[in-house]
């Protein structure tokens, strides 16, 4: 008899999501919690992840668990990460905490692709990063990397 057991996931901001156990197990962190938590672990807290992000993560897991061999999985993945930068970063962090390898690889690669072809200054702009090198260090880096046309 296949159990249609469901698990409730609770985000950091108290939002709850009921999902099939099979979908929840796509996250190795949740799998571990269930296996070590005993028979009555039907509600799992995920305090590192907000409701918005958790809902997207669940959408990813559902697709990958319910239709792992579908032809449109690749295009699903491509579209899945066409989100704004902040959402992407939250997804990446969530996939790391929840130990979902596929989503971790996907979001990491997408973020890395955002650096490609950008100058150092453009990367800083895109990701709101403070330049904490001294002007002398900057100059030294520029000189050493002068073969790299985008410095």
């Amino acid at each position: 008899m296949t159990s249609s057991k469901t698990i409730v996931l609770r985000s950091s901001d108290g939002a709850t999501f009921e999902v099939d156990e099979a979908v929840a197990l796509h996250s190795l962190m949740i799998k571990h919690r269930i296996e070590t938590g005993g028979a009555d672990s039907t509600t799992i807290d995920v305090p590192e992840v907000t409701g918005n992000t958790l809902s997207k993560v669940i959408e990813y897991c559902k697709k990958h668990v319910e239709a792992p061999n579908s032809d449109d999985l690749k295009s699903f993945d491509t579209d899945f990460v066409k989100v704004d930068q902040a959402v992407l970063c939250h997804l990446a962090k969530a996939s790391y905490y929840m130990n979902i390898k596929g989503l971790l690889d996907l979001s990491s690669k997408t973020i890395a692709d955002m650096f490609k072809g950008k100058t150092v200054e453009q990367i800083r702009e895109t990701f709101h990063i403070k330049n904490d090198f001294t002007p002398e260090e900057e100059e030294e880096l520029r000189k050493e990397n002068s073969w790299n046309l985008f410095v």
Partner: protein
């Protein structure tokens, strides 16, 4: 007011490492390392440039250390050297890489059929293409090897070209090709071993080398043309020596009923990494050091990306209509020939081909 938080710092260090490891071009890694101190630390202390080189070019695994500008700490030096190495391996200009012959496993008539003749496709001896010939054999399975030194002791080879020789001066114009050809690359067991003229001594130097790469067997067509053997992946030759192995004799010489191999021309195409890079082997442990010269690297990059494969840049001795320097010796050989060719056309053939 917007607070600037370094998003990589906001992610876990493992994640930052994972994201930066996704970069597949060393230029991106170099830029990433110039964004902020945190990014620089992740790229440099985790050796991401080295990691990228090793995963893209597994032959580099034999390198045990990098020797470079002495003022840097070793992580920074490795970072800079490997980032530049990746760039060199993927975008230095393509050029001809065979420099000099080292040995042939056998030679029929030395010196007129010497391995020297395979270097320059343009040279001729008495209006015949020049060529190397093996000794004859009754056994079709007797292989032969030709060994060459390359133009740099570290280079990346993308393809090797071979032109079997057709004897237009023999009845029926036989083509002395092989069934297959196989390539190896490596370095000498000891550099002292190579202070010896194997070509002139007509000795085979195979056992003086450690071959670290062996290719598949490529089928050769019995045709008088330059045949291109593209390597499935570019191969780094660490040590600077190439062996061409000919397998399976197909052509008998009518006059003695023996099988021969004859080759008109051999060439390798790739990117030579010197003078920016070179390798040094320390005996007896055979550990390999990579030497990196940043100034020369910068110079090579700024000198432009236009590689040239025109025949004018073939690395050769000037065209040799006369394959050996000793005229008297030559005349003795010439007088021994009985094909009745007139020799007063020699005067014309001394004009160099430019």
């Amino acid at each position: 007011m917007e607070t600037r938080i370094d998003f990589l710092e906001w992610l876990e260090p493992d994640m930052a490492f994972k994201i930066l490891s996704c970069l597949d071009d060393s230029a991106d890694l170099v830029r990433a390392s110039a964004v902020s101190r945190y990014w620089q630390n992740i790229v440099v202390s985790n050796g991401l440039s080295k990691q990228l080189c090793m995963s893209t070019f597994p032959q580099l695994a034999c390198i045990t250390r990098v020797v470079g500008p002495s003022h840097e700490n070793s992580s920074e030096r490795d970072h800079r050297a490997y980032a530049s190495l990746f760039r060199a391996l993927t975008s230095f200009p393509l050029t001809y890489c065979v420099a000099d012959p080292v040995s042939a496993s056998s030679t029929d008539n030395y010196p007129q059929e010497s391995i020297m003749n395979t270097l320059d496709p343009r040279d001729t001896i008495r209006n015949r293409g020049s060529y190397w010939s093996s000794k004859g054999s009754n056994d079709t399975e007797t292989p032969e090897t030709l060994i060459y030194s390359l133009t740099a002791n570290i280079c990346v080879i993308t393809e090797i070209n071979l032109h079997p020789f057709q004897a237009l001066f023999q009845f029926d114009f036989p083509i002395y090709s092989s069934r297959f050809v196989r390539f190896r690359m490596g370095h000498p067991k000891s550099c002292n071993d190579l202070n010896y003229d194997f070509v002139d001594a007509q000795e085979c130097a195979d056992d003086k080398f450690i071959w670290t790469y062996t290719s598949q067997m490529f089928p050769v067509i019995q045709q008088n043309r330059l045949q291109r053997f593209k390597l499935p992946e570019p191969v780094i030759c660490i040590g600077g020596y190439l062996q061409v192995e000919l397998l399976g004799r197909v052509q008998k010489q009518a006059s003695d009923d023996k099988y021969y191999f004859c080759v008109a021309h051999v060439q390798a195409i790739g990117r030579q990494l010197s003078p920016a890079f070179s390798v040094e082997f320390s005996e007896p442990s055979n550990s390999v050091s990579l030497k990196y010269d940043a100034a020369k690297f910068g110079l090579t990059v700024s000198n432009g990306q236009n590689g040239s494969l025109s025949t004018s840049v073939l690395p050769v001795q000037p065209p040799r209509q006369l394959a050996w320097g000793n005229l008297q010796e030559f005349m003795q050989i010439v007088e021994g020939h009985d094909d009745g060719v007139e020799y007063d056309v020699w005067a014309d053939e001394f004009d160099p081909i430019l």
